[in-house]
């Protein structure tokens, strides 16, 4: 699943980010590194998502959220 269709108020682990290396770098520099970050989905606005990364809140438009592939924390990777 990805961030845009993740259940609200859940905790996820980032698997990988789609896109070119430059686009991946942009997300990485905000802390969205594969396998190393646990984020809590706070709230949504349609398919927008706001996640809590550490103490930081990051909002994603649907197109951006769909590029971040995640799994629910504690679940096995499919």
């Amino acid at each position: 699943m990805n961030l845009s269709n993740c259940p609200l108020d859940s905790t996820v682990t980032v698997l990988y980010v789609e896109g070119t290396p430059a686009q991946q770098l942009r997300y990485a520099e905000m802390g969205l590194l594969p396998g190393s970050t646990a984020a809590a989905i706070l709230s949504g606005f349609g398919r927008r998502r706001v996640i809590k990364l550490g103490a930081e809140r990051i909002a994603f438009a649907p197109e951006a959220a769909s590029k971040v592939h995640v799994q629910l924390a504690g679940s096995a990777r499919r």
Partner: protein
């Protein structure tokens, strides 16, 4: 962006390498030069304001549309230090013009340090957010890797403490190998400690401990040296700054992984996992900002609140500021004008001098002064929205709507304000972080139908479309929206074709109580900047129009003769000369072209000028006196060849689209430069003519 020494005791601020022809501005150099580096919303600008007070100015970086704040910090020792507040950035790999300025500034400083060594006195203060240390440390690592000596200013530690994640500055300093100074610029704390730390580092820059990743770039589990003395002499770090900006993106991605590995090590050292900087414990401890976002970012509540904020901003810039503006205008045209006229009469000044002073100089000054309340209100609203943290939420909620224009969600605020008045709308573009998006929004704002244009629509709609005036006025706002969409599309396909609108990913800062203590000073600074820069342009144009109206062409009147009919002046001659240009649009008459000339000074002047050219008093607001109505009918009927309503519609569209008022133009020039403003004005006049001609000529085919 350079920050180099000219050798004569000054420093130049410019984009790219210095050299002949590089546009620069000179700052007084008294020793150290400091750049402030940090992510957006970490408190960098608050710190800058604390250190510089009122000794600061906004400077445009040459060959860009980015501006930076440059100021002077008066130290306790009496030394004056230059500080530059660089645009906020998440990393030194830039993705926008603003971030490029910051990346270049760090890069150029590093080069100068490498060249000058210990005599360079160039320093960086990296502002870290204690509530989001992980992501802040990445930028710190990049800055350290560049080779610039760094002092860390740790902000928001009080908020971190409130959420149970406070940071021990001593422990962090040992981990980072650089001094860490806790600051609270909102309360005015930390300046003295920061001064002392900068002095220490400047005297011994080699005392900074190299980051472990210098020695083992492939390691992700590099150890931190907790016992080292930051003041101990060690060899300077490798000047690897040249690698940061030149690596390919995939190599940068690998580097980012390594840097974040180091960040995790540091976080583990200063704040073990159970104290929480990771998501799991953050989820378990909801902050007040989290709770507010659950409410404000839900469509059911968020949209009404968002619309209410937009409505309040719109109302404040129109309804509330209007009476204040009217009062100030009354003050200028009443007591001030009477007083000055009286004094000039006592001094037996010639009539032309009295006219120049009253109708040219005082009128121009009065225009500037009358707009100050409006500017103060909009600066206040922007300050409150930014400082509270709500503006970032606006960007999220308006993102979908702004997609059609290819703009950031934050562009909604200036575009909406533009339907009240274009001037504060242009000022509000400063809330858009990306310089290109800021420029694109600034070029669209003049096509927002402001309330001044409404006066024109009301008059013509009531004269030429009686019984349907309301519908016609509403249609003009639809036309305005369509023109904005059309111009945005055209610009995105041409001048802005390289502007890539990345899907919105935005950090939402914590909600904070706005700094009311700093509000007054911030607003005063901005207003004085507006008065200083825009005022010069406005005054020049006001005097120009007076000159046109004061110079006779018929040989029967003296210069400045206040009883001279308009058509006997150079202004009247100029109006007659340009009238034929508008014949294809159906309103090629000198009365109408005269009103368009003064409409450039102020859109409200269109109606007054029409009345003046017909030698009658200005109609009461909202009314269409029979005499003026008949005159307008006769004029439009004659100039259009029997299609007066169609010509009036074409005229209304021309008034909507052609150049905005001179105050708007002056503000555009202040924000974006003369070249861009000239292009915008020329383009709008051409577009207005094409649309007016198209409406008239095509409309005639169907009538």
């Amino acid at each position: 962006m350079t920050c180099h020494d000219t050798g004569d005791g000054s420093v130049q601020v410019g984009a790219g390498a210095a050299g002949a022809g590089a546009a620069t501005a000179t700052l007084p150099l008294t020793g150290r030069q400091i750049i402030l580096v940090g992510r957006p919303n970490v408190g960098k600008s608050t710190l800058f304001n604390l250190l510089t007070g009122s000794h600061q100015k906004t400077m445009n970086v040459p060959r860009t549309t980015v501006s930076v704040e440059v100021g002077t910090w008066a130290l306790a020792t009496g030394e004056r230090v230059s500080i530059t507040d660089l645009p906020g950035t998440y990393s030194l790999n830039p993705t926008s013009p603003d971030e490029e300025v910051t990346a270049h500034a760090v890069d150029d400083c590093a080069r100068e340090i490498a060249a000058a060594g210990a005599d360079s006195h160039r320093l960086a203060v990296v502002v870290l957010d204690a509530t989001a240390l992980g992501s802040s440390l990445y930028l710190y690592a990049q800055t350290r890797l560049s080779g610039v000596p760094v002092v860390v200013a740790l902000s928001m530690n009080d908020m971190a403490a409130a959420s149970g994640t406070s940071v021990d500055p001593e422990r962090l300093a040992r981990a980072l190998g650089a001094p860490v100074v806790p600051i609270n610029p909102r309360l005015g704390r930390g300046a003295a400690e920061l001064e002392a730390a900068l002095d220490r580092v400047d005297r011994a820059p080699s005392g900074l401990i190299p980051l472990p990743i210098f020695d083992d770039p492939a390691a992700t589990s590099s150890t931190v040296n907790p016992g080292a003395d930051p003041a101990a002499g060690v060899s300077p770090p490798e000047a690897s700054h040249s690698g940061v900006s030149r690596l390919e993106a995939d190599e940068e991605l690998e580097r980012a992984h390594r840097l974040f590995g180091w960040v995790r090590e540091v976080l583990e050292h200063i704040q073990p996992a159970d104290e929480g900087q990771d998501g799991s414990s953050a989820k378990g401890r909801a902050t007040p900002s989290d709770r507010l976002d659950r409410f404000l970012l839900r469509p059911l509540y968020g949209i009404p609140v968002f619309l209410a904020v937009l409505w309040a901003t719109f109302q404040l810039t129109t309804t509330i500021s209007g009476p204040i503006q009217d009062w100030l205008e009354g003050l200028v045209t009443g007591p001030l004008t009477s007083g000055v006229s009286g004094l000039l009469e006592l001094a037996s000044a010639p009539r032309w001098l009295m006219s120049l002073t009253v109708d040219g100089l005082i009128a121009g000054v009065g225009t500037v002064v009358s707009f100050l309340p409006l500017m103060a209100i909009i600066f206040t609203m922007i300050f409150l929205l930014e400082d509270s943290g709500y503006l970032a939420r606006v960007a999220v909620m308006a993102d979908r709507a702004m997609q059609s224009l290819g703009l950031d969600g934050r562009a909604v605020l200036p575009l909406v304000i533009g339907f009240g008045c274009n001037i504060p709308a242009l000022t509000a573009t400063k809330t858009i972080p990306d310089a290109r998006q800021r420029l694109l929004t600034g070029l669209l704002i003049p096509y927002s139908s402001c309330t001044a244009r409404l006066v024109i629509y009301l008059l013509l709609a009531s004269v030429f479309f009686p019984g349907h005036a309301g519908t016609v006025v509403f249609a003009m706002y639809i036309v305005s929206a369509l023109v904005i969409l059309g111009v945005a599309y055209a610009l995105r396909k041409t001048a802005f074709h390289s502007l890539v609108r990345e899907p919105l990913v935005i950090v939402l800062p914590a909600y904070q109580t706005p700094r009311f203590g700093s509000l007054g000073r911030a607003v005063a600074l901005r207003c004085s900047g507006f008065a200083r820069r825009a005022g010069v342009v406005i005054l020049a144009l006001s005097m120009g129009v007076w000159t046109l109206m004061a110079i006779p062409v018929d040989g029967e009147h003296a210069i400045g003769d206040m009883d001279m009919p308009v058509q006997s002046s150079l202004f009247g001659a100029a109006s007659s000369a340009i009238a034929p240009i508008f014949e294809p649009a159906g309103f090629g008459d000198w009365h109408i072209s005269a009103s368009l000339i003064t409409g450039f000074v102020a859109k409200e002047a269109v109606v007054g000028t029409l009345a003046t050219t017909y030698g009658m008093d200005e109609p009461a607001e909202g009314a269409a006196p029979r005499d003026l109505s008949e005159q307008l009918h006769a004029t439009f009927d004659a100039s259009s060849g029997g299609y007066p309503a169609l010509a009036a519609a074409a005229f209304m569209v021309f008034c909507l689209v052609y150049t905005p008022c001179m105050v708007t133009v002056a503000e555009q020039k202040r924000l974006f430069g003369a070249k861009i403003t000239a292009g915008s004005v020329g383009g709008s006049i051409l577009l207005a003519w094409l649309l007016a001609v198209g409406i008239f000529q095509i409309g005639r085919l169907f009538l």
